[in-house]
Symmetry: D2
Subunit: 258 residues, 4 copies
């Protein structure tokens, strides 16, 4: 990813929670490697959060566990440290709780994103924008053979976003003339959108949204994630932008300026 | 399709049965347009088969109905006319019956092909050849939104051919770590091979066979049929080759010389 | 295309210029077939433009020739008829002339679009939006073998839009380590963006924009136009929307509300 | 890759030349990891070839340099060790020299393969087989942005194989109506076949052969190599099979039993 780093003389002081985990350790490397960020604290299970304050962290990145992330976020808000959160397990109730903390700290800021892949987020956003112009849409996602769930979280969320956009545009259900089908042939139904999950050794993480109309136009938005580090540009974008967005931001989309 | 027409001075005399049907009428146009064939009889429902003999037909193309095709084939065999058959409804019992007729007419020849798309047949053949070299394989087929069955006949047959090739090579089941899935997400199971059916306005007839191995190699064989006339080159190939293959030939594969 | 037609009791009265041409005749059929439009005049070479006024046309669609289109547009502006123009040959000088006419007729409106394919326009727009987030981008366009120019106008325009977006974001040139290349292997250079043109019998009109970044994310935006009628939804959108946009509108993009 | 290892009680004794190189070190790991092979010698620059004999190597794998590989192969032939060679730089003159050595050692065997990717070799073979059935064919290859040559060696070889197959079938030149083109738009010409080279950060090694005919059939054979280890299954196949093929074998194709 190549959006320019903001020109500045001061490095952003970053703390990482879950620093020994798979994602957290990647974040540490990324923060150390970027020209405008500095790793000042790398904490994991058992380390005291006060280490973040002692180190003067301005932004904290949290890739921990659903069971501890809320305490971490509250600590950051109370101590004026911006938080970039990739830990899963957030629902509307949790978002409300975070908003409550932020109400008492108007200049604090929290970014919670279910997906830090800039390409993945763009492809979801484009699928949502295009949805109302086409009669139908289906999703094919392809992942490595060790994945235990189907469809992927990204595919399910893409389907939901598309279904909402179609409903807002009054699009009606997608056409489907199938009368005879083998069980499973037509994929899973997520909010009325068909999703097909391929599991294949050699694949990594791939998704295709296919939109079509009877007049013969097909639009395909494909995203390929060729390795795990492809989430780091999004994390870095979050670190750079979070402090300029007081309050709670959900998802990377608002930071992409689309 | 561009395989050269055999150089010859005499035109092949062709009769068409089902000449008013969608496929039959295309065959008539194709036979009239090709440089080495001549349309001598175009019969449909109610016309007497003796018209084929009167016209001196050397090869008959049959795109009729399962209910009448056997009578047509028997007439051709008895009268020394080679038959190229695209009508559906053939099973092993019917093939045995045809072989019985042919036993009494050693120089007669019948070609029955479930698919005259040369590209479709090639892609099935390549998928079969490649199957044993990859840990896993899945099929994605995409058709227009008016198709009533899923998966397509071609996809089901491709899956069966792949499963046979894997069994012969001792490949074992394809890997699948899925433990949590929405109903249908992982597609239909055809002989142990997963098949995904997309239905989309604007599409015509498309199929992708994706093969992968854990070491990171992916092989994809994709076939697109952009309109109905794409079956005609295969029919023409059948017309040209059927007489040089006495007896019963099933499928276009033997004529492709792979 | 399925965006809903605005609910209204009155039909839009449409005139077509170039009504006997390939595109114009399609427009006539489309206008006659749509539930909210009515064909009131179908003029071609030699017909007097006053026929548009006599017929009470509210919107005129022009698919004529570069040599006559300017006169047509001026006539429409002078007579208070909105114009939807698909004729090629517009440059900045022509746009200035049109703006001059419109200055004297503040409620008049003209839409000039180089491409009425909604999917094509969306894919250009998405490519433009995504450009600044990726280190590199190339374009592959595939068309039927009778096309005489390469690259296609759409591909060239897409490259230019991408180059502009990258320049605005300060992206720098795309990386390219090639030191030894066969002539032409790396495609054409359009404003610094590589464009590859495939010409293939069986293809119709297809384009892929591939964006990649070194961290392993690839985003592909593919558009397939399976037949010529795929431009009609965009023409219909223009007919419906042009009168609500006084002045000159260039391109379909503003009407898509992205 | 999953073709079963032959059941046997004895391990194949393997020596590796160029054992410290990028490919050689991968081969060492692969030989040590496979259930039916044993690494008995790992030699590099400066080590005496007699080490192969001392270690009782039955098969030697050579990933060295064009300047030394001929000496290595001669040593193997003279000492009754089968050779599997991936080093580049072989031409017909070198093959003749190897055949000369083998003439004096009828039971010796040498396999020289320019590409050990089983999927890549299959895709070349399928492209060659399909070539004569389609009016036209073009190749698109996509590699990472650090690649210095264009087109890739595999793409150039694929084009040559296709051109030969078309010539043998009397196919004539591919159709191309282009009269106006930007320099490079139509790709490089390799034996009359157009080849397009995309260079993109995030890509690894990918190739698409697209075949089309005017009747609307498109066949696409795509190969993706997602990482470097994807060559090892082919090397292992060579190790297992080379001794059963006395004389010189060029390319992996004969071992795939297509």
């Amino acid at each position: 990813m190549t959006y320019a780093a903001p020109v500045t003389n001061e490095l952003i002081r970053v703390g990482v929670l879950g620093a020994k985990g798979r994602m957290g350790s990647e974040v540490c490397r990324t923060v150390e490697g970027a020209p405008d960020t500095e790793l000042v604290a790398a904490l994991d299970d058992g380390d005291a959060l006060t280490g973040l304050v002692d180190a003067g962290a301005q932004v904290v990145v949290d890739f921990t566990q659903p069971g501890v992330v809320m305490g971490n976020v509250e600590f950051c808000v109370r101590n004026g440290i911006a938080a970039v959160v990739g830990t899963s397990g957030f629902d509307e109730a949790r978002f409300e709780t975070v908003r409550g903390w932020l109400a008492d700290a108007p200049s604090a800021s929290v970014l919670v994103a279910p997906n830090f892949g800039v390409g993945a987020v763009l492809s979801m956003e484009f699928a949502r924008q295009a949805a109302r112009f086409f009669e139908s849409v289906e999703i094919i996602e392809l992942h490595h053979a060790n994945k235990v769930d189907a469809p992927s979280g990204t595919a399910a969320r893409t389907a939901t976003l598309i279904a909402q956009a179609r409903a807002e545009a009054g699009s009606g259900p997608v056409p489907d003339a199938t009368t005879t089908a083998l069980d499973g042939a037509r994929g899973a139904d997520v909010d009325g959108i068909r999703v097909h999950s391929v599991r294949m050794p050699g694949m990594i993480a791939h998704q295709e949204v296919v939109l079509g109309s009877a007049d013969g136009e097909i639009l395909t938005i494909r995203h390929d994630s060729m390795n795990r580090t492809s989430f780091m540009p999004g994390v870095l974008l979050g670190i750079r932008e979070v402090r300029s967005r007081p309050g709670l931001t959900i998802g990377l989309e608002p930071l992409l300026g689309l």
